[in-house]
Symmetry: C2
Subunit: 519 residues, 2 copies
């Protein structure tokens, strides 16, 4: 493939060029499975405090309002009873309308993959881990840092398919800037639907793009449009333009995704100290106002439209004005955001983001700390779950492996603990008595295989053993692991007739010139 | 100082040899302060499950009993009503005696430093961070890995004094094996009392050693023995010899620390799958039995003796038999252990331990994950809080800095979040309206200085800025930071008369030959 040219169809089997040994890494992972989080969420705020934020939010929506930059959206909201000032594009929301509309959004949403084994539910105690959204760069130890491109986009899809901790795709990681913008959504959707059989992602932007993705997912699933609306098959994210403003492409996203019945996450770019107040309570009130405004619009368009509460509050570094992810404020905003999502009965989106300028110890702890935080805030949709570094400006192959290990550990740590006669093991304890050893006892031998977590990346040998074996640090081991996973990668089966139909659709839409990025 | 020879008095000011610039790192840390954790602990087990473990524990203590290897301890327990079999050294505990005795242990214990600004409380919502216990090796980027020695022991005490996140000393990190065993406790206690003014640690072992430390702490505090007993000034830890066995030095520790009125943490070496059942519930029952047996002995010796519940459950790697720290099972045992400590109203000891064979990304995430876990289990005494690596076989200078950053972040993340009229900022939100910017608003400017956490180690600049500035990764930056902290280190003031008295005591006890390690 020439530089700058993207194939309409990703080629299978091209991973052979990687120098790897066949060690069947995939089989050494924890198995695929839906993640139910047994830990009750942290309640950092009292019920009264949450109610104070809720009331402040309604006051903001009623008195200050939100700038709604798409005429069509203003008309929809005006017809629903909002006060609209066309000159300022400002929409003021009656508090009762907001409460009534938000109550219509469902608490849980099914997400159906082309492989039913990869179906998911957004909501309840379920955690769905997705890949990164939007990194413009890509990095690994061998090839260094480079612009996002088609080859890396496809390889990272393959890696996401191979990693059992990844439940669904997000997009595009990295952004394949060597593909035509007008047809990028066609290329990227085809890649997701052929290189993976997990739930695909779409960007919103122009309505035509969402309709294209809808049609491709419909073909891949072999269902009717009605069936796809009833059993959603892809999802997206919009960012509001904080404070209190939603631009045209984002409003198109809200309206079209609602019409198409596919889940949409609404996440303000909630920069405390910049686009948001410097106080966390103020940031929460503005963030909440923007999410509820978008949710209200979606419910007016189509009652019951699935909306995910995108609680991602970030503070700025007041020395530079740059966003800071993974800070203590980030974690606290997350706890409170989770409480607000539960207040409204909406699924929660959150992300274990970090600000680290490279993949090192900082990237590791700055991911692990918010990862715990978001799990303890009740996250349902974990965007940026694997590979994120540099505040989202790059996706890293090695970081994907680091994150996969952390996620595996956290998933195991958030499972229930059995306490019953068998697990209390009184007979074995009586048998062995003081000073004995359980290692060779029947009670142990019967449970040997599956008793404890086995790591993917972590090395649990002694320093001496580790040193004798080449002293490979975690990054070097991660480098080996992603190469092995790609070497072992097998493209998931796709009915040839469906593949043909998808390719024909892409070819036709490309011949028509694709679709504009915006509208 | 010649190899193998330890000075009675650590020399002040010897840090000058380090090549550093005076950047006043100490002042860039978060300030010293007691840590109150606003997060309610995780309740992974139901009340019924906790009760099932409690009842199983009492059955074990009553039917199986515990091997108590010190005749004096058996006599004490026999006099209290336990059934003692001298041939097997087995002591069986009446369940009502256990419940009555455990109820006598206090829920909170004050720990008083020679500098009252460094006083602490073990219990309630307070988290006290201590240094490592017992690493035989020490490592840093410049000098590599080496045996524990006196110079590093003193430097790591200086670093612990300089780090505001460290609340109290533990010992010895690293073990100064170039000092005489018979007088090591004298050297190490003098170093703790002169190089730091934080609460010191003692090992238990022979009673004479604990009496020496008691006397030195009494001198340093300038109080009577009665005053030191009423307001404890040092603490220790014993490990039981699981399963269901406590050896002579550990029993001396329980008896003497109870007599001296100083807090003692009882921590089984709870290796699930080896010394303990492979099932976590079984491990919890045996661990709990050992802690309650030791607590019962302490309360019989002296009702109200302060005991810390040492819930550290570790699984073995069933491939090798080696202990695994930081695993999912470790975290789950921690949650349950915290629930048991609360069941008995005892302060909780826990540790963010890792198994990583070197200080790398694994060490970072394998520390951050259990760190969250132990905070969410309600830890009060955090042993091994800074510097631990290699499953405890080494203490690392750079890891001390990594851990200090993580602890600073977690401390800030576990504080309450204010929600009131000022923080909701409705006036500022009205002022600025849609599409505006809060950065230059009065509401922001008034809070600019202290609004957000500022890091010690983390680099929050862009990849380009970081690269232009030399691309120093987190380990390289940690290396610079500990050197700067040691260069800036100032020995805390100590009354010359007290210093003289301490030195005279040490000289006299050295002339007497010190004290045996055991008895």
């Amino acid at each position: 493939m020439a530089e700058g040219e993207a194939p309409a169809e990703p080629r299978a089997g091209r991973r052979r060029r990687l120098d790897t040994t066949a060690r069947r890494v995939k089989a050494r992972q924890q198995p695929w499975g839906r993640w139910h989080n047994a830990l009750k969420p942290v309640e950092l705020l009292s019920t009264d405090q949450i109610e104070a934020i809720h009331q402040a939010t309604l006051t903001i929506l009623e008195e200050v309002g939100v700038a709604i930059l798409l005429p069509e959206a203003r008309q929809i909201l005006k017809a629903a009873g909002c006060a609209v000032d066309e000159a300022s594009q400002r929409v003021r929301f009656d508090r009762h309308l907001v409460e009534a509309m938000v109550a219509k959004a469902p608490a849980t949403v099914g997400l159906h993959a082309r492989n039913p084994a990869h179906d998911l539910v957004l909501g309840g105690d379920e955690v769905c881990v997705a890949t990164c959204v939007g990194p413009p760069n890509v990095v690994d130890l061998d090839r260094g840092r480079r612009n996002g491109n088609w080859a890396d986009y496809c390889d990272l899809l393959r890696l996401a398919q191979a990693l059992n901790v990844v439940h669904l795709n997000a997009g595009y990681a990295p952004e394949p800037i060597d593909t035509e913008i007008a047809t990028r959504h066609l290329d990227c959707t085809l890649a997701q639907l052929s290189l993976t059989d997990k739930v695909p992602w779409t960007f919103t932007f122009a309505p035509r793009r969402m309709h294209d993705v809808f049609e491709m997912v419909r073909i891949a699933r072999g269902v009717t449009a009605e069936e796809l609306m009833a059993r959603p098959g892809f999802y997206s994210l919009i960012n509001t333009n904080s404070p209190l403003q939603i631009d045209q492409p984002m409003l198109h996203g809200i309206i079209e995704m609602a019409k198409l019945g596919q889940p949409l996450c609404i996440t303000p770019f909630a920069l405390a100290g910049a686009a948001m107040p410097v106080t966390l309570a103020g940031t929460l009130a503005v963030m909440n106002a923007e999410i509820l405004a978008g949710t209200t619009l979606a419910q007016v368009v189509r009652p019951g439209a699935p909306i995910v509460y995108g609680a991602v509050g970030v503070n700025v570094d007041l020395r530079s004005g740059a966003p800071v992810y993974g800070s203590p404020e980030f974690v606290k905003l997350q706890f409170a955001g989770g409480q607000l999502a539960r207040r409204y009965g909406l699924p929660l989106r959150a992300s274990p983001m970090n600000t680290s300028p490279t993949v090192d110890e900082q990237a590791a702890y700055e991911t692990a700390i918010p990862l715990w935080g978001i799990l303890q805030s009740g996250v349902n949709l974990m965007l940026h779950g694997v590979g994120w570094v540099e505040g989202g400006l790059a996706v890293s192959y090695e970081k994907c492996i680091l994150d996969a290990e952390m996620l595996q550990v956290m998933r195991a740590a958030t499972q229930p603990l059995a306490v019953d006669a068998e697990s209390l093991a009184l007979d074995a304890i009586r048998d062995i008595g003081p000073g004995g050893h359980f290692f060779a006892h029947q009670h142990t031998l019967e449970r040997y295989e599956s008793a404890f977590y086995l790591p993917l990346l972590s090395d649990w040998r002694s320093h001496a053993q580790w040193k004798d074996d080449g002293a490979k640090d975690a990054l070097a081991r991660a480098n080996r692991l992603w190469k092995d996973l790609l070497a072992e990668y097998q493209e998931p089966a796709l009915d040839p007739a469906i593949r043909e139909e998808l390719e024909a659709f892409v070819a036709r839409r490309k011949a028509e010139g694709g679709a504009p990025l915006l509208y």
